[in-house]
């Protein structure tokens, strides 16, 4: 079996004296959508932050055959991991166009960047009309989509998507997941998504991990998890 694109082994992370992850192991293969589920405070967001290097972590993290456990967030981004953080990861003082340009900040080659911008805008057509608008003046859903669009501008090998549904209307959330699914199908985008809304996440993902107090409590294919008694009661609500 080929080595997975991303592999975490016994990863721990802490905020100051507080340990948030107590040894998380997971893998993401190229072209997969993998979901991380769990209650508030289970360590979902921290797991993504451990990968992108925005929290202090230990343990083994391998990406595309390289260890990234000790790397800074900017170095991780340069390897092709685009982290869309929780709560509208846009630079609100800058324009939509500037946000997109920043997404491709580490890339070279003006032509291919412009090409990608057209390709990305095809998924978010309304963004094109608002190129000169300040990102902070967009609605919550629009900002979330801009954050996703900006992540795509990196031409990422892996997107870390943190709680894209947070505070958004169901219709908008469905639209975001539709686009993510489309990108995965058509362009083979690999996504590790953290989501409170387990129903949506399990629909989009092929596999999922359930975190409980900083550990993986359960893992498996989305179908299997959907039928799992405790997952249904705790996260799906029926």
């Amino acid at each position: 079996m080929a080595e997975p694109l991303l592999q975490l082994e016994e990863v721990e992370a802490r905020y100051g004296p507080v340990k948030a992850l107590h040894g998380v192991s997971l893998t993401v293969a190229e072209g997969e959508i993998v979901a991380v589920l769990g209650a508030n405070g289970a360590g979902k967001t921290t797991t993504l932050r451990a990968i992108s290097g925005t929290v202090r972590r230990s343990g083994a993290i391998r990406f595309a055959g390289k260890s990234i456990a000790g790397r800074s967030p900017e170095a991780v981004a340069r390897l092709g991991i685009a982290h869309v953080p929780e709560g509208r990861g846009t630079l609100s003082e800058l324009s939509v166009a500037e946000n997109l340009r920043l997404g491709a900040y580490v890339r070279r080659g003006r032509a291919s960047i412009q090409e990608d911008e057209q390709r990305v805008l095809a998924h978010f057509p309304w963004l094109g009309d608002r190129r000169n608008q300040r990102a902070g003046t967009l609605s919550g859903g629009e900002q979330q989509m801009l954050a996703l669009a900006r992540a795509l501008m990196l031409r990422p090998r892996l997107v870390l998507l943190d709680e894209p549904s947070l505070g958004l209307a169901p219709r908008v959330v469905a639209e975001i997941f539709r686009i993510v699914g489309e990108l995965n199908e058509r362009e083979g985008l690999t996504v590790l998504v953290v989501e409170q809304n387990a129903i949506l996440a399990l629909e989009a993902a092929s596999r999922a991990y359930v975190l409980e107090v900083g550990r993986v409590a359960l893992e498996g294919g989305s179908e299997t998890l959907r039928r799992n008694e405790s997952v249904r009661r705790s996260y799906l609500g029926y």
């Binding site: 900017e74 981004a77 846009t90 630079l91 609100s92 900006r150």
Partner: protein
């Protein structure tokens, strides 16, 4: 009474005010640049500019022309600013604001002391950057030096604007100032952007110092202390978070302080600094965000 008003004098004094204000604007812009990226006022900005001016003085004394020394000093100041950030500010990058403020205060004394140690405290002079001849525009005589100062100040502001608005590096600098954490996620080396900001600020201060000194009969290590105060007042007037505001604020202040000194007898030249302080106080009371600043609203 109205007919007797001397319009020539008003025009001349306005230009003199703009000339001084332009030099304050450069230092104000330096303050704003650092304020936006670190959230603190760099109290050492004036002393760094003074140090640069002394470097220029030494270069000129070793036989360089004014403008040769000017550009060489710019480069040295830029490198010095970057180095200061790396060595002094970097260790407290994530420390509370008060810590960083104390560090810049310490830097004030460090740079000041270093300048007194390297260069004796006797007074010295810098040659004029521009001809001291007057030039007549529409029947009014202006000094070429004042017009030159205004041109250089506005030129530097324009260059900086172009850097920030039209280059990828400028975009990264703005992103860093607006949200460092997000900026790191797109791969910007935020820490270096901060250092670059210090370099740019130091270079702008150097321009301010090297143009301030020639206008004085002589200068010593206290050269930039009043300028820092005026720059601070101008930045507060325009809005400490707004580069545009800082420039406009400093220019307005330059004209205001000069006109009030000219037309209000009891203020004269002695009370100009207190007037600037009164402006700081007044603005902070009435409009804390300044003319162009946005009131800081933090997400909770």
């Amino acid at each position: 009474m109205l007919l007797a008003f001397d319009w020539t004098q008003l025009a001349q004094q306005t230009v003199i005010g703009l000339s001084a204000g332009g030099l304050w604007a450069l230092l104000a812009l330096a303050l704003v640049l650092i304020y936006r990226s670190t959230g603190v006022v760099n109290f050492a900005q004036g002393e760094m500019a003074m140090f640069s001016t002394f470097i220029a003085w030494s270069l000129i004394h070793h036989g360089l022309s004014y403008w040769q020394a000017f550009f060489l000093t710019l480069a040295i100041s830029f490198a010095g600013g970057v180095a200061l950030e790396r060595v002094v500010i970097r260790p407290v990058e994530r420390a509370p604001v008060l810590t960083v403020v104390i560090v810049t205060l310490g830097l004030f004394f460090l740079v000041d002391g270093a300048a007194r140690w390297f260069w004796s405290s006797e007074t010295r002079t810098l040659p004029n950057a521009f001809s001291t001849r007057p030039i007549t525009v529409a029947g009014v005589a202006f000094s070429i030096q004042d017009l030159g100062n205004i041109a250089v100040s506005l030129g530097v502001v324009a260059l900086l604007f172009a850097l920030f608005q039209f280059t990828k590096l400028g975009l990264a600098l703005r992103a860093t100032a607006s949200n460092p954490d997000e900026s790191r996620l797109v791969g910007i080396r935020v820490s270096w952007m901060l250092a670059l900001g210090w370099g740019l600020a130091a270079a702008m201060g150097a321009v301010s110092g090297m143009l301030t000194a020639p206008a004085l009969a002589s200068f010593d290590q206290n050269l930039m202390q009043p300028v820092l105060l005026y720059a601070f007042a101008g930045a507060v007037l325009g809005g400490i978070s707004s580069p545009f505001g800082a420039v406009v604020g400093a220019l307005l202040l330059g004209v205001f302080v000069n006109l009030i000194g000219t037309y209000v007898d009891w203020i004269g030249t002695d009370l100009r600094l207190p007037v600037a302080l009164a402006v700081i106080l007044g603005v902070l009371l009435v409009r804390p965000a300044g003319l162009f600043g946005r009131a800081s609203a933090r997400r909770v």
